[in-house]
Symmetry: C2
């Protein structure tokens, strides 16, 4: 059973003809500067468009699971995705949340090293890995971009290790809120109040805490007048300076 819909948008793809004969939708992509496509010129972009399809994923549905053949890589264009790893007994570690512009699926083994699942309704661009690799041989700038992305992710992973290994629950939650705000700002989205679409359980699994501790810590920060919990999963960072301080200057 397919849990997501796929549309082929590439001009070379016969599957689902797009309307009209205009330029590929990629040329109108509003978040291109955030994506793997950022460094492409018009000609290169056309060739990328030829191998891309789009995926819509309902909240809670898996994109892929750890251990599956890593046949595709993705770029999130809308919504929020979580990626996570599991221990044999079911303990979960969310290793990241991905937003519009973020890339995922990088794997140099033949299988995905982690699972990915939609936190909200999502749209993604999907690239067959083989075809993207061929394209990279011809367009080294894509490879450079990918290396750049990987370097950034590595730096973020190290920050996260510092958080997981050495920060208290209060520091973890403060860091998390500041992180979400920064990522929102990067995307040009309102960063205060910040949109927090994921559940307490997901937040706990990201920060190495339980849902109860996440909830209690939110309450505690609320009582300290550092945050306010607003409707629609929004959190106002009332004391952003203090939160940054608590987060430990990362």
């Amino acid at each position: 059973m397919a849990v997501f819909d796929v549309k082929h948008v590439g001009s070379l793809s016969p599957a689902v003809p797009r309307e009209g004969a205009g330029p590929s939708p990629c040329s109108a992509c509003e978040i291109r500067s955030l994506t793997i496509c950022a460094p492409l010129n018009d000609i290169e972009q056309t060739q990328m468009a030829a191998i891309v399809s789009t995926v819509e994923l309902q909240s809670g549905n898996p994109l892929f699971d750890e251990g599956e053949p890593a046949d595709h890589v993705f770029n999130v264009t809308a919504g929020t995705v979580k990626v996570y790893k599991l221990l044999p007994d079911g303990r979960r570690q969310v290793t990241g949340f991905l937003f519009a512009g973020d890339f995922l699926g990088l794997a140099n083994q033949e299988t995905y090293a982690y699972s990915a699942e939609a936190v909200t309704l999502c749209n993604l661009c999907r690239f067959p890995r083989r075809k993207l690799e061929n394209l990279m041989e011809r367009f080294p700038r894509v490879e450079q971009r990918l290396l750049n992305i990987a370097s950034n992710e590595l730096a973020a992973a190290q920050d996260q290790m510092l958080l997981l290994g050495r920060k208290t629950a209060r520091e973890k939650i403060a860091s998390f809120l500041i992180l979400l705000a920064r990522r929102a700002r990067q995307r040009g989205v309102n960063d205060n109040p910040v949109f927090v679409p994921m559940s307490r359980t997901d937040i706990g699994d990201f920060l190495g805490l339980t849902t109860e501790t996440v909830s209690r810590t939110f309450t505690q920060l609320k009582k300290s007048n550092l945050i306010r919990l607003l409707p629609d999963s929004k959190v106002e960072l009332s004391g952003r300076e203090d939160l940054e301080e608590i987060a430990g200057g990362f």
Copy 2:
């Protein structure tokens, strides 16, 4: 004050002439297959040799500190290096231990995102970052190799997040010993008993534990007859199967 010695070994470097007129020392490099130099042909290797210098670093000395201009990248050729990040109050998270063949210094900001320090007496190859970047433009295989390395590090970082966020002290220590053994085997080094050159404090800072807990957990594994502590920082993995089981199949 310089805390490490540098020798220029490149044939184009006038600094310290090497003996004789033979091929560059890189051609005799015994661990090339593990390094960034693995994919190079003879011509490319000569050009890499032209920009490399070697560094010897005494145990305990810093290679670079977080925040310094990231002017060089390195390949460890002998010994063990630790990389770590600090919180403002001094809490430390060791994000990795590096052995012969491992690459470090990748940064797309202008400064290092972490500090690096010798755990044992070390030898490293040092490449000026600018020059390596120029070389990468001409030899895409180096860039591919670097992307490959970054992907591997990313996968390792995700494993480590799972460990830090969700494993118990016993599981962490078991995972750590198995990790060291696997890395030793990769290098073609004896993996049982495994050489554990780093201090209990360093291990604790890597696993998100205190030195006391590390020590107690070693004792506990010893009493369970899963390991034996041998002289010269060696640990025999007497119950390797069980350790793998405890580690949680990573």
